[in-house]
C-alpha cells in the first residue's frame, strides 16, 4: 500500500511508454501493480476473517469455559457435546422454520407489490421511496418497533384486533407458550422489513423483461397467468434466485430482530443459531463449545456458499 501510494510522487518524470528506462522502483510497482492494489483489502480480510476461524478451530479442541481453562487436546468432546445438545438442533430448526416461511412470503408479497407498481402511476417514485424505508432501518430498531406494536397493553395491534372482534383483545404476542403468536410476531417484523427489498428488485427485473417475448405470446392468445408463468417468470428467474440467496443468507444468521423482540424466548422457543451462539458464548461463557459451534457454522455455510455461488450468478 505505502509503496503504491509513493508511486505517483516518484512518477512525474516517469514515462512508461517513453524510450527512457523508468526508475527501478517504478518498474517494480508497475509490474506488481495489480497485486499491490489488491493486497491491502486481502490483508484486512485475512486479519479479520481468518483469525476467528483459526481461533475457533483450536479452542474447539480445548476445554475453556467460565470455570476451567484447560488447553490440552480434548478430542471431539466439544463437538459431541454440541451435537448432543437439543438446543443446538432446536436452534437450527427455529432458524430453518423462519427462513422457510419468511422467504416465500417476502417473494410473493414483493411480487404482488411490484405488479401493483409496474405500470405508470402518479407519484410512483415517491411511493417507492416510502415503501423502501423499512428496509433501510436498523434491524434492531425494526424489532423494537414491532415489540411496541405487539405490546399487549400499549400496542395498537391488540387494539385493532379488538375493533374487529368487537371486544377488547389481550393477546400476549411475545410472551406466550403458543408458538403461533410468538413466531407470528417475528415473521411479521421480518417480512415487513424485507418485503420492500424483494419488491424493489423484482420491480426492476419486471421492467426489464423483453417486450418482444410477450408479443409472441399474446399472438398465441395465451392467458395472463400463462404468460406470467411461461414467459415472465423464466425471464426474471436469475434475479429472483439472487434475491432469494441474499435474503436466505441473511435469514440464516438472523439475530437482531429476534434479540429485540424475544431474546430467543420464551424459554428457547425462538432461539436462532445466532442467538444460541451468543447465549452460549457470552452468557454461559462456554467458550469451547461455542467455538465448536462457530466452526460448524462456518464450514457448513462455506459449503453452502460454494454450491450456491456456482449456481447463482450474482452480479455477472
Amino acid at each position: 500500500m505505502s509503496r503504491a501510494a509513493a508511486h505517483p510522487a516518484a512518477s512525474p518524470g516517469d514515462r512508461s511508454a517513453g524510450p527512457d528506462a523508468p526508475p527501478a522502483l517504478g518498474l517494480w510497482v508497475d509490474r506488481h501493480f495489480r497485486r499491490l492494489i489488491v493486497a491491502p483489502a486481502v490483508l484486512v480480510l485475512l486479519l479479520i476473517g481468518l483469525f476467528p476461524v483459526v481461533y475457533s478451530l483450536i479452542v474447539s479442541f480445548q476445554k475453556i469455559n467460565r470455570r476451567v481453562e484447560d488447553t490440552s487436546f480434548q478430542g471431539f468432546d466439544n463437538y459431541a457435546r454440541l451435537f448432543g445438545d437439543d438446543r443446538f438442533w432446536e436452534s437450527i430448526l427455529h432458524t430453518g422454520a423462519i427462513t422457510v416461511i419468511a422467504l416465500p412470503l417476502e417473494l410473493v408479497l414483493g411480487l404482488l407489490l411490484a405488479w401493483l407498481f409496474l405500470e405508470k402511476l402518479p407519484g410512483r417514485q415517491v411511493f417507492v421511496a416510502l415503501l423502501l424505508m423499512p428496509a433501510v432501518m436498523a434491524p434492531f430498531v425494526a424489532g423494537a418497533i414491532w415489540r411496541l406494536m405487539f405490546d399487549n397493553i400499549f400496542g395498537p395491534i391488540n387494539q385493532i384486533l379488538g375493533w374487529i372482534a368487537g371486544e377488547p383483545q389481550n393477546v400476549m404476542w411475545l410472551v406466550n407458550n403458543d408458538p403461533f403468536t410468538v413466531y407470528g410476531a417475528i415473521l411479521v417484523c421480518e417480512v415487513w422489513q424485507w418485503t420492500p427489498f424483494m419488491f424493489l428488485i423484482l420491480l426492476a427485473a419486471l421492467s426489464n423483461v423483453d417486450r418482444s417475448l410477450l408479443e409472441a405470446a399474446e399472438i398465441d392468445g395465451a392467458s395472463g397467468w400463462r404468460v406470467f408463468r411461461r414467459i415472465v417468470l423464466p425471464a426474471i428467474r436469475p434475479v429472483v434466485l439472487v434475491a432469494l440467496t441474499i435474503r436466505g443468507l441473511d435469514l440464516i444468521r438472523l439475530f437482531d430482530i429476534v434479540w429485540a423482540l424475544t431474546r430467543g424466548g420464551p424459554g428457547n422457543m425462538t432461539e436462532t443459531v445466532s442467538v444460541f451462539a451468543y447465549v452460549k458464548g457470552f452468557e454461559r461463557f462456554d467458550i469451547s463449545t461455542t467455538a465448536a459451534l462457530t466452526f460448524v457454522v462456518i464450514v457448513s455455510l462455506s459449503i453452502m456458499l460454494f454450491v450456491l455461488l456456482r449456481r447463482v450468478e450474482i452480479g455477472r
Binding site: R66, N170, V175, P266
Partner: protein, 478 residues
C-alpha cells in the same frame, strides 16, 4: 500488578499504627474519603444498570465523590441483561476496563469461581469498615456478602418482595362485612396463598373489570423468584443433598405450580404474561386490589419524586394514601435479585475502587442514595429503616420501612450456585408452560431432568459444594 499485592500488607501495618490514634472519631465514609485523596487525579470506572439506576452515580454520588477526593468516576451503563455477560467477558479478556462492579449477589459463585472478584476482607479491615457492615440488615449482610468465608461484595440494595394492598378497599366496612360473611374470617392482608386466592376472588367478583383482585409478575426472567419463594415455604428442597438430584418436581413443587396457575383465575385478562411494568401500571391506575413487587412502588404510589424528570415515564398515581404494605403470604418473601458492589480482580485501581464502594455503601451516603427519588436502590441498613428523615417522606413511610425491615429479617435468598442462570431458565420454561395451560407435573419433571443434566455437566461434586455453601446460609431455607 505486583505493586498492588505488596501494598496491602504494608498499608495494613500502617493503619494498625493509625488505629491506635483517635481515628474512630471519623465515620467510615470520612475514612474512605481521606484514604482516597492520595488517588486524586485518577479515574475509576463503575458498572451500573443502564437507565434509572445509573442516575445515582451519574448525577449524585459520582460528582460528589469527585469533589471530595479528586477521583473521577466514569459510569459504564450496561442493560441488566448484559451485565453478567459484559462483566465476565471483560475479565476474560483481561482488559481491566472495570474497577468497581455492580453484581447481583446470586452470581457470586460464578464470579468468584471465575476469579472476577477481588476478596475484600483486607480492605475492610484496613479501612475500618467492619463495624459499619454490622448495620446492614442481616439477611443481606450474612448472605449476599460472602462466598465461602471471604467477603467479595458489599450488599448495596434491599431488594425484597412486598405485598401491596389497597387500604381503602380492605378498610371498607361493606367489603369487610361481605367478605367475612362469605369466608368466615376478617378481610386482611393474606397470610396464606389460599387466603390470597379468596381475597382476590372476592374483589374480582365484586369490582371487575374496574378493579381486579390481584396481579403478579409473570415475565420470564422473574417468574422463577415467586416459585422459589413458595416452593421453599411449602417445604420444598431444590436438591437432594447427597445425590444432587433435582427435587423441584416433587409433589410440593407440583402443588405450588398448580396453585400459581389457579391464582390466574382472579387476575386481569392476559396477566399470565405480565411483567413488572404492566403490573405497576395497573396498580398505579387503581386497577388492582393487591400485587407483589420490589420496594419502589411503595414510593411511587405516594407520588414521591413524581416531579422528577427522570420519573416522568411513570404514569400518575391514583392510589396515593391508599396503600398498605405486608409480607407476602407465608411471611418469607423472596429477596429477588438485588445489587452488591464488588471490586474487579483485574482492576488497576483496586484500592480507590474499594474506597469508593465503602463510601457509597457507608451509613450516611447510602441513606441519601436510597432516598433518591429516581434511583432504584432500596433501604438495606437498619439505620435506613429507622431513619426519621425517611420515615417522614410520606404519611405511611414508617409502615413501609417497618415492612421492609421485616422482609429484611425473614427474606429468602435467591438460589445461588454454579451456573444458576441455566437452572433458572429451565425452571422458567416449566412455569411459563404451565401458566399457558400445560400440565404442571410433566413440565416440572422435564425441568428436573434438565437440572440433572446441567448438574452432571458442571460436575456433581463441584455443584454439591456450591450448593451446600448456599444451603447452609441462614435464609436459604425457611
Amino acid at each position: 500488578m505486583p505493586r498492588g499485592r505488596t501494598a496491602i500488607p504494608v498499608m495494613a501495618a500502617a493503619t494498625a499504627i493509625a488505629a491506635a490514634l483517635p481515628a474512630h472519631a471519623q465515620t467510615a465514609a470520612e475514612r474512605a474519603v481521606e484514604a482516597a485523596q492520595q488517588y486524586s487525579g485518577s479515574t475509576i470506572t463503575i458498572t451500573y444498570e443502564a437507565g434509572l439506576q445509573a442516575l445515582d452515580p451519574l448525577n449524585f454520588s459520582g460528582p460528589m465523590w469527585e469533589e471530595l477526593t479528586g477521583i473521577e468516576v466514569e459510569v459504564i451503563e450496561i442493560p441488566i441483561n448484559e451485565l453478567f455477560t459484559k462483566t465476565i467477558a471483560e475479565h476474560r479478556a483481561g482488559t481491566g476496563a472495570y474497577d468497581l462492579l455492580n453484581i447481583v449477589p446470586a452470581w457470586l459463585p460464578d464470579l468468584v469461581e471465575a476469579g472476577v472478584l477481588e476478596p475484600l476482607d483486607a480492605y475492610v479491615d484496613e479501612h475500618g469498615y467492619r463495624d459499619s457492615l454490622q448495620d446492614i440488615a442481616g439477611v443481606y449482610r450474612d448472605n449476599q456478602m460472602t462466598y465461602g468465608d471471604e467477603i467479595y461484595a458489599l450488599p448495596d440494595d434491599g431488594d425484597v418482595f412486598v405485598l401491596y394492598y389497597r387500604t381503602d378497599l380492605f378498610g371498607d366496612a361493606e367489603h369487610q362485612a361481605a367478605f367475612e360473611e362469605a369466608h368466615g374470617y376478617p378481610l386482611a392482608p393474606p397470610e396464606t396463598w389460599d387466603q390470597f386466592y379468596e381475597i382476590s376472588q372476592y374483589f374480582t367478583e365484586a369490582l371487575a373489570p374496574e378493579t381486579y383482585g390481584s396481579a403478579l409478575i409473570h415475565a420470564p426472567g422473574l417468574i422463577h423468584y415467586l416459585f422459589e419463594e413458595r416452593f421453599r415455604i411449602a417445604g420444598g428442597r431444590f436438591f437432594d443433598e447427597e445425590s444432587m438430584d433435582a427435587q423441584i418436581d416433587s409433589d410440593i413443587g407440583v402443588a405450588v405450580l398448580e396453585d400459581m396457575v389457579r391464582q390466574l383465575d382472579n387476575m386481569p385478562p392476559g396477566a399470565a404474561g405480565w411483567g413488572p411494568i404492566e403490573v405497576l401500571n395497573a396498580w398505579l391506575a387503581g386497577e388492582l386490589a393487591m400485587q407483589i413487587w420490589w420496594p419502589p412502588p411503595g414510593r411511587w404510589s405516594e407520588g414521591y419524586g413524581a416531579e422528577q424528570e427522570a420519573l416522568s415515564w411513570l404514569p400518575e398515581t391514583t392510589v396515593a394514601g391508599d396503600v398498605g404494605y405486608a409480607l407476602t403470604p407465608g411471611g418469607r418473601p423472596e429477596l429477588a435479585a438485588g445489587f452488591a458492589l464488588s471490586v474487579a480482580a483485574n482492576s488497576d485501581n483496586k484500592e480507590a475502587a474499594y474506597l469508593f464502594a465503602q463510601w457509597l455503601n457507608s451509613e450516611e451516603i447510602s441513606l441519601q442514595r436510597v432516598m433518591l427519588p429516581f434511583a432504584l436502590r432500596d433501604p438495606f441498613r437498619t439505620s435506613h429503616f429507622e431513619s426519621e428523615e425517611y420515615r417522614g417522606l410520606w404519611p405511611s413511610a414508617g409502615d413501609y420501612l417497618d415492612t421492609l425491615k421485616l422482609g429484611a429479617e425473614t427474606g429468602l435468598l435467591d438460589l445461588s450456585i454454579i451456573d444458576t442462570f441455566s437452572y433458572e431458565e429451565s425452571l422458567t420454561r416449566a412455569i411459563t408452560s404451565a401458566l399457558a395451560g400445560g400440565d404442571p407435573r410433566s413440565a416440572l419433571e422435564d425441568a428436573a431432568e434438565e437440572w440433572d443434566t446441567i448438574t452432571e455437566e458442571i460436575g456433581v461434586d463441584d455443584q454439591r459444594e456450591a450448593y451446600s455453601i448456599w444451603a447452609a446460609k441462614p435464609n436459604a431455607y425457611p
